[in-house]
């Protein structure tokens, strides 16, 4: 890869896209130093402006338990909740999801530790929770802050454990109602499921969302854990393994968030736990309460299939395309040797020759989130109010925190849909005309000259390698004519809606 491409490539892949001055900065400090800097985000000076903007979003600093106390369903006074009270409580809680979106977008645009922000997005989608699923509406942002963000560059096992225990995941993947089936519970407890309900009425998270509470095994979480979060390979486990794993996680339930002692919203319910021994992936996990879950997560985190699955996905995310099997093997070795340390895996990836292979240059098509954030970074002024962008992302088909699929939004191999492209054109036109009122004063970075300078050579029409991989079918008059830089558009909307800006 030529040196100029290398600079743009490393900015495009380790950040949400070039901001004003980024190209010069990386050219001055060198590509290797830039990578090292991004691998140590805590050493980067915090942006005071960003801190001040985040301060203005009070619910984005609240923990899951406090959020439940403040915005959860109001406790019934005798007869439970009427439908209008439930809806009113939900409307009041809308602020939580809105501020979470604002915080995420502001950080993605302005945080100096861009690599970490990308990894937060990657891991959030890997361990997706849908804010449209019951009480997850107040916890999706807290899930990101408490389970994803602290471990985004840390140990995979820590990430796995934090997500498994977080109330947002317990709700979204239904494990809060995963209880030991009748007859297998603790000796003496005939019906642990219904017994618990009476004892802890406050524990039912949201009556409205869950009309009936069937006691029994629920394999939803176990299935997602195997197929999406860890092994990813259906040949690596059997249906019996999944059932055994579900039994391991019986009794992993929501804390009683109204109790004074509850700290994190997680509650291990011994009485609802199936205490028998389990055989999981050929290994026996002796009955031992909550320790069984820890043992199962350790087995999964250290499993070669997990290493392969996670490394392939990470590589595809940063390469913006499928990695070679050899690269996946190399990263897998690092993953297993370094106890699943994510920082070590991405460091090895960025040091790999395949990462700088010319055919990877500008090979990716931006997801809606990357598109929107990269446009704001290119302009260089964070929005006064990020709220309208939540609506813009919804229009592009990817509302933040509202992906119903447990696999999250795709991080690589994404191709924009027709509606997404139409929405991107409208977004570009709205930014250029001021119709999308993100700033009270038109930012200077929105001029075509400034944008071209910021985006560097990325706005030069692609040629060479990238044209090889995309042979055009059919010919149009003048279509194949290369556009010289002098003819580049004078309208910022044309730059932001053009094909080069869709790629990274």
């Amino acid at each position: 890869m030529p040196p100029e491409h290398k600079i743009l490539h490393v900015i495009n892949r380790l950040t949400y896209g070039p901001a004003p001055g980024d190209v010069e900065r990386v050219r001055a400090m060198g590509v290797a130093a830039f990578i090292r800097q991004q691998l140590e985000p805590d050493a980067l000076p915090e942006s005071r402006d960003l801190t001040a903007r985040l301060e203005a979003l009070p619910t984005s600093r609240m923990g899951a338990v406090d959020l439940f106390r403040e915005y959860g369903p109001t406790p019934g006074t005798g007869g439970g909740l009427g439908p209008s009270q439930v809806l009113a409580a939900r409307d009041r809680a809308g602020v939580v999801a809105r501020e979470a979106v604002q915080a995420r977008i502001l950080r993605a645009v302005a945080a100096p530790g861009q690599l970490r922000e990308l990894l937060v997005d990657f891991w959030f989608n890997h361990f997706n929770v849908d804010a449209g699923h019951g009480l997850a509406r107040i916890w999706a942002g807290a899930f990101e802050r408490e389970a994803i963000r602290p471990h985004a560059m840390g140990r995979f096992l820590d990430l796995l454990a934090a997500t498994a225990m977080h109330p947002a995941m317990l709700i979204y993947r239904e494990n809060w109602r995963n209880v030991a089936p009748r007859g297998t519970g603790e000796p003496g407890a005939d019906d642990p499921a219904s017994g618990r309900e009476e004892a802890a009425g406050g524990e039912s998270p949201d009556q409205e969302d869950v009309p009936e509470r069937a006691g029994g095994l629920d394999e939803t979480y176990a299935g997602t854990l195997l197929a999406v979060h860890t092994l990813g390979d259906e040949t690596a486990y059997t249906a019996e393994d999944r059932t055994a794993l579900a039994r391991v996680f019986t009794g992993w339930r929501l804390g009683a968030p109204r109790s004074e002692t509850d700290k994190n919203g997680f509650f291990f319910d011994q009485a609802a736990h199936d205490p028998t021994d389990k055989v999981f992936l050929g290994r026996t996990i002796p009955g031992g309460g909550i320790a069984e879950g820890a043992a199962a997560l350790r087995i999964l985190a250290g499993h070669p299939a997990t290493a392969g699955h996670v490394c392939r996905k990470l590589a595809a995310f940063f390469l913006a395309g499928e990695p070679s099997p050899e690269l996946v093997e190399r990263l897998k070795d690092v993953f297993l040797a370094r106890d699943g340390e994510i920082r070590a895996v991405v460091e090895a990836l960025f040091a790999d020759p395949e990462f700088f292979d010319e055919k990877r240059f500008a090979a990716g098509l931006k997801t809606p989130l990357r598109h929107v954030v990269s446009a704001l970074r290119a302009v260089g002024t964070p929005p006064d109010d990020a709220t309208p962008l939540a609506g813009v992302l919804a229009r592009m088909g990817a509302p933040l925190y509202y992906c119903p699929d447990p696999g999250g939004y795709p991080g690589s191999g994404y191709a924009p849909t027709a509606r997404d492209m139409a929405a991107r054109a409208a977004f570009a036109a709205g930014l250029a005309s001021g119709g999308l009122a993100l700033w009270s004063k038109r930012p200077p970075g929105l001029s075509p000259q400034a944008l071209r300078e910021t985006l560097g050579g990325a706005q030069e029409p692609a040629s060479g390698a990238s044209s090889r991989q995309a042979p055009r079918a059919g010919k149009k008059a003048g279509a194949g004519k290369p556009v010289s830089k002098a003819h580049l558009p004078a309208d910022p909307a044309v730059i932001l809606a053009g094909p080069e800006f869709m790629r990274y």
Binding site: A93, A390, G391, M421, A470, V483
Partner: protein, 440 residues
């Protein structure tokens, strides 16, 4: 004019009518006037219904500019707050008005204008024609309706006081200006319908010239060598998708007009309606309908399509008030739509058909200066999954109140005008007797 002065002029009006000599003098003056258009209207309680076809956007008429969810739902069509360029007009107590409706603010402040929010048909109807028929028939199920509530109301007005009087009522009590005989006036009572004259809508209202130009500018870039095929295909499909969407919206927007003239004709047709009131002294009911509120495309904010339409509506109400003159004190003008618009802006800068909407009540006996009904919450649960604003009040509530509190008819009359409907809101909520309302 403040409320006190307004009430004083109202009292003067009543005095003129009560003293035979003065009334006679007024009559003579009217007869001698060279221009019969300037003759005062016969004293009479009147009700004028103005139908804004297409579903006027409640969130633009009364923009909730202080609600942070407003800009989330409406990224490019939200109005700025007061004090900013093109900002909403602050009516106090958290109520804001579209800047194009600024001329109405004075009426709101002296208590002659009120709004009813969360208003609509009991069932959700997506189709303009079907929802419009419900509002005009005054029945929740109007698919087979053959008469309209305004005609039934005309029958009630002509109903003899004593059952012995068998002489049929031959007076024309309802007038309309409409290209066809509207459903709301269909029925047994005699009516007068005047044609509105020639009118034309702007061609291709659902065009987005800005985006069409952008598509044209970037199209060669997407067709250029080296652009990955999925991207160039997505671009072409996106442009085609928008064209199809716009064409479909165009067809719907044209249908939603119901053949009625554009709202830019409101001012001159308002004057003609009042002239018809003058010609037919028994006429107490009026109906006007205008198209142009089905803002699926490029709705705009402080300026643009909806702002223009609302500006014409404000101008029309002013023209109506001017033509009515002192008779405005005895008139109630009800502005309705078949439904409100959805909460979320769509992909082409517009809003789609919704449910809960807004009714405007204007005139002498209106308990104005306030917004009735339940404020719609924009928060959380509606943003991504539910796109409608709820209906919290049946559209017939304020109409039934006008029948009794304004026109002075009985509850039995309401039951005949709106069969099967039982009002739940006290009529005095909407129409206070002015003297009672002015007392502390």
């Amino acid at each position: 004019m403040n409320r006190r002065r307004f009430l004083a002029s109202l009292a003067l009006c009543a005095a003129t009518a009560a003293v035979p000599g003065a009334a006679l003098a007024a009559k003579r003056a009217a007869g001698q006037a060279k221009d019969p258009l300037n003759a005062p209207l016969a004293p009479r309680k009147r009700l004028v219904v103005v139908f804004l076809r297409g579903g006027a956007d409640a969130l633009s008429v009364l923009p909730p500019v202080t609600d942070p969810f407003y800009t989330l739902a409406r990224p490019t069509t939200a109005l700025p707050g007061p004090g900013q360029p093109g900002g909403a007009v602050d009516l106090g107590e958290g109520v804001f008005l579209h800047p194009a409706l600024a001329p109405l603010a004075a009426w709101y402040r002296d208590g002659r204008l009120a709004f009813v929010q969360g208003l609509g048909t009991p069932a959700l109807i997506r189709d303009h024609d079907a929802a419009g028929r419900v509002v005009e028939a005054g029945l929740p199920n109007a698919s087979a309706a053959s008469d309209g509530w305004l005609n039934r109301l005309a029958l009630e007005l002509g109903r003899p006081a004593s059952p012995e009087a068998k002489k049929p009522d031959r007076a024309v009590r309802a007038v309309a200006i409409s290209p066809t005989s509207p459903l709301i006036l269909a029925g047994k009572a005699r009516i007068s319908v005047l044609p509105p004259g020639r009118f034309a809508y702007p061609a291709s209202e659902a065009a987005l010239p800005e985006l069409a130009a952008l598509d044209k500018a970037v199209a060669p870039l997407y067709a250029a060598k080296g652009v990955p095929q999925p991207l160039s295909r997505a671009f072409r499909e996106g442009a085609a998708w928008r064209r199809d969407r716009l064409a479909a919206y165009e067809r719907e927007m044209v249908r939603s007009r119901n053949g009625d003239p554009p709202v830019s004709r409101f001012p001159d047709l308002a004057a003609r309606l009042v002239a018809e009131f003058r010609r037919l002294p028994e006429a107490a009911l009026g109906f006007l309908a205008f198209g142009g509120f089905d803002t699926h495309v490029a709705q705009g904010a402080a300026t643009g399509r909806l702002a223009e339409a609302l500006g014409h509506a404000a101008g029309g109400l002013a023209a109506l008030a001017g033509a009515l003159g002192p008779a405005l004190a005895e008139t109630v003008v009800v502005v309705v739509s078949e439904f409100g618009r959805g909460l979320l802006e769509n992909a082409v800068g517009g809003t789609d058909n919704g449910h809960g909407g807004l009714m405007w009540l204007f005139g002498g006996s209106v308990a104005g200066g306030r917004v009735h009904g339940e404020e719609p919450s924009l928060a959380g649960r509606r943003l991504y999954r539910e796109r409608l604003l709820p209906v919290t009040m049946d559209f017939r509530e304020p109409l039934a109140a006008a029948v009794t509190a304004h026109l002075g008819l009985s509850g039995e009359a309401v039951a005949r005008v709106f069969p099967g409907f039982e009002p739940r809101v006290r009529p005095e909520t909407f129409f206070g007797p002015p003297d009672a309302a002015s007392r502390p």
